[in-house]
């Protein structure tokens, strides 16, 4: 019985953490390049809606995922160009995009008739029969396994490639990077595009992977949780993923505890992941070292 409950909670924790995981890989990379990407919430919800809309139109949940990722990419491009070329404050751009995305997706959701689609479930024989962890790990929607590849790829890009080295330099000392011959704002836009792509995918996975349909404000602040996860992880990928897992687990508890008969205040349960994020940040933020130029716009010559 306990094993069954545990497996159920774990299973739903992984299911709920996966969308955050995609977005976290993106946000982590963007923040290492020095952009505090607030618009991640907008990227996720747009990705979620676009995925359902595209899946509904084409009948393919996989095409929906793809469309969601591209929608996120477009938001990343808008954000990058507005904050670099038009020199609008990046936080203002981000907040505006978030509000716009929330309103637009709700509006189109009202005015369109969408049918739900969901990507295929992968179930690996033999391994799925391992007690406790078998089902959570080996019976999941297939994008979850894509995430398992994305995490090491992100790490490799940031830590082992020339491009990643330049990203880190841009996030730490843009003036120095500039005189060294790196095009600072281009690197930052590339990082934003990467973030948009995978945040959109994360949102899409939430809609056509985890849930199977779209409802208004379905991301419900998950984008902000991802930002919290990056801070929780002290701008290291391992810590970020740990934060994502923790928030996923808290979310799973919210669903699972009443089901297994534990009576708790339901509002408190709904708030649990957010409270956890707040607590984690207060505890963690003291001993962290963020990229030195995080959130600071770059203009040549101003030192």
């Amino acid at each position: 019985m306990i094993l069954d409950d545990g497996a159920t909670i774990l299973s739903s924790a992984i299911r709920l953490a996966a969308p955050l995981g995609f977005a976290a890989c993106g946000e982590y990379l963007a923040e290492r390049a020095g952009t505090m990407n607030i618009s991640i919430e907008g990227m996720m919800i747009t990705g979620a809606f676009t995925a359902v809309a595209a899946a509904s139109a084409t009948g393919s949940a996989t095409l929906g995922l793809l469309a969601g990722a591209i929608a996120g990419l477009v938001i990343g491009a808008v954000h990058g160009n507005a904050s670099h070329r038009l020199a609008v404050n990046t936080f203002v751009v981000g907040l505006t995009l978030n509000v716009l995305a929330l309103g637009a997706t709700s509006f189109f959701n009202e005015s369109m008739d969408l049918t739900g689609h969901q990507v295929a479930q992968v179930s690996i024989p033999v391994l799925r029969d391992i007690p406790l962890v078998g089902e959570p790990l080996f019976v999941q929607r297939w994008p979850v396994y894509l995430l398992l590849g994305l995490i090491p790829l992100t790490w490799y890009l940031v830590e082992r490639t020339r491009w990643g080295l330049e990203l880190r330099a841009v996030g730490e000392n843009p003036q120095g990077a500039d005189v060294t011959g790196i095009r600072v704002n281009i690197r930052r836009r590339q990082a934003l595009l990467w973030c948009g792509l995978f945040s959109g995918l994360g949102g899409a996975h939430l809609a056509v992977g985890a849930v199977g349909s779209f409802n208004d404000n379905m991301t419900a602040g998950r984008g902000y949780l991802v930002i919290a996860a990056v801070i929780f992880g002290a701008w290291r990928l391992r810590g970020t993923i740990l934060g994502v897992a923790l928030f996923g687990l808290a979310d799973a508890m919210r669903l699972a505890l009443p089901a297994v008969g534990v009576k708790l205040n339901s509002q408190l349960l709904i708030a649990a992941p957010y409270l956890l994020a707040l607590a984690a940040m207060v505890l963690v933020v003291r001993r962290t070292r963020q990229p030195a130029a995080l959130g600071k716009p770059f203009t040549r010559g101003i030192v």
């Binding site: 082992r160 490639t161 020339r162 491009w163 080295l165 330049e166 880190r168 330099a169 730490e172 000392n173 003036q175 120095g176 990077a177 500039d178 005189v179 060294t180 011959g181 790196i182 095009r183 070292r289 990229p291 030195a292 040549r300 010559g301 030192v303």
Partner: protein, 595 residues
Amino acid sequence: MTQPPRPPRSAAPAIELRGITKRYGRVVACDGVDLAVRRGEIHGLLGENGAGKSTLMKVLSGLVRPDSGVILRDGVPVDVADPHVAAGIGVAMVHQHFSLVGALTVWENVVLGEGREGRDRCDGGLAPAGGQGAHKGWLAGARGRHGQGRGRLRRDEACADVVRVGERYGITVDPLARVDSLSAGQRQRVEIIKCLRRDPDVIVLDEPTSVLSLAESRDLFAVLRRAVTGDGAARDGAVTGDGDLPAKAVVLISHKLAEILGATDRVTVLRRGRVVTRRATADTDAATLAREMVGREVSLGEEAAALGLTPPILSTGAARDGAAVLEVAGVTVGAPSGVPLLESFTLGLRAGEIVGLYGVEGNGQSALGDVLAGLVVPDRGEVRVAGEAVDLRRPGALHAAGVGVIPEDRHRSGVVLDMSVADNLVMTDLGPVSGRLLVSRRRQLRHAAELAERFAISCPSLDAPLRTLSGGNQQRVVLARELAGSPAVLVAAQPTRGLDVGAIEGMYGELRAAAARGVAVLLVSTELEEVMALSHRIAVISAGRVVGELDPAEADAERLGLLVGGAVGDHAATASALVSGRASTVQAGATGDGR
């Protein structure tokens, strides 16, 4: 992106600037400046602060677009639109303050930003040498497999390359160290290696010795000499086959006469944005250069320190008696990256004396300034004024106790540029000009007018924003405000940085006058000459602690250099210190002539 052909040794100068003009509003930073630098020479660019040296070099490195004028590279006109173009045509600049990324390691910094241009250049300059497998492999790998300059980083090969370039020019540095953990001198070595590894033809160094001890300066000039003669290449077995590593051209920007005289082949003097003179260094002397730089006769006595020459000892070394007015006791300030900024720093000041705190930049002076300005609360230790410990956690406590501070960076913590002169003059002490609730504008203006008169602040109006004043006048505003409250202690951190010679002399006069009135003055400076000219007592700071105290009469450049370098054994002992050596001979000659 233009890459001009590279004739092996053409008659045309390696780099030539013609008629460069740059205006900032009404201020003309460069006015039709011509400068030609040949291969194989170290070219000194001498001028006071604000003469236009740095603007000129920013034009050359693509950070600033000139209003008019052309740049020729080996005789071919080039359009240096941004730093990437500058790198592409083989112009490298060693920046003093902002080009290394502290959170990265040495080797990461060295390979950073080597785009396609950088690699093509290496290809032309170094790779044909063949022979050295690792080196060639690194380049070939980087170029071939990684195309656009993306691709995988090869740590071991990059590290080997850092060591190899270092050996060629006689620079040692640990490629795996984080730049955060290095001293200012070591960071500059990293800058130089980073610069040399790209094999530029023209190297520009902007005031490189401000962060170096004397021994380190001497080493730097030796490295530069090797770079311009191509000597390093000949001694490196692997490259001997090539043998013809083209000689480089070096531009050394400085406002210090001794450096220019000691280390350069030719010199161009700038004054107020115009070229005053250009000639072979050997044909000139300190007195001539000083006159050309400042634009009037300069006695190399009193003013020598302002020009970067060691002055004769002018201050009487009579030690002041009495109790300490300011005592800094065991102050420790930690740093986020581990190495403490200040470690058990202890120093006492008596009334009426000027104590010079001399040291190479980046050894804790900034942290000390911040502690004494109340910006940083130390982890341990205390500050006592007139025997009473000050509660450093209370904002303004030090000011109330009678400590005035001229901060190191006046724009950061000394003034508010967009507020008026009058506002800036009363900002730290509103008591005398305000009632319980309201500031009396009448009293404020009267007070400000008095101060402006007393300290000879020249400004269009007391209501003008401080931004409109010259650097020297801004500094006078800070000085006036800090001395207005009749403090017992005045902390002057790098008080003459960025000022012209006239303003520097004015500042020296004010500091001496303050001491004569009985104020205890702490002069924090990286300028040896300044410290020797003003101090009654010299304390030397290194790695966040006081490593020695000297009477100026017994202090000379050698002994101070030893202390500053943390007495690094024979290395410093043998430092016959190029700079000081030349300076003192020049000095002797000049003062002999003058009197």
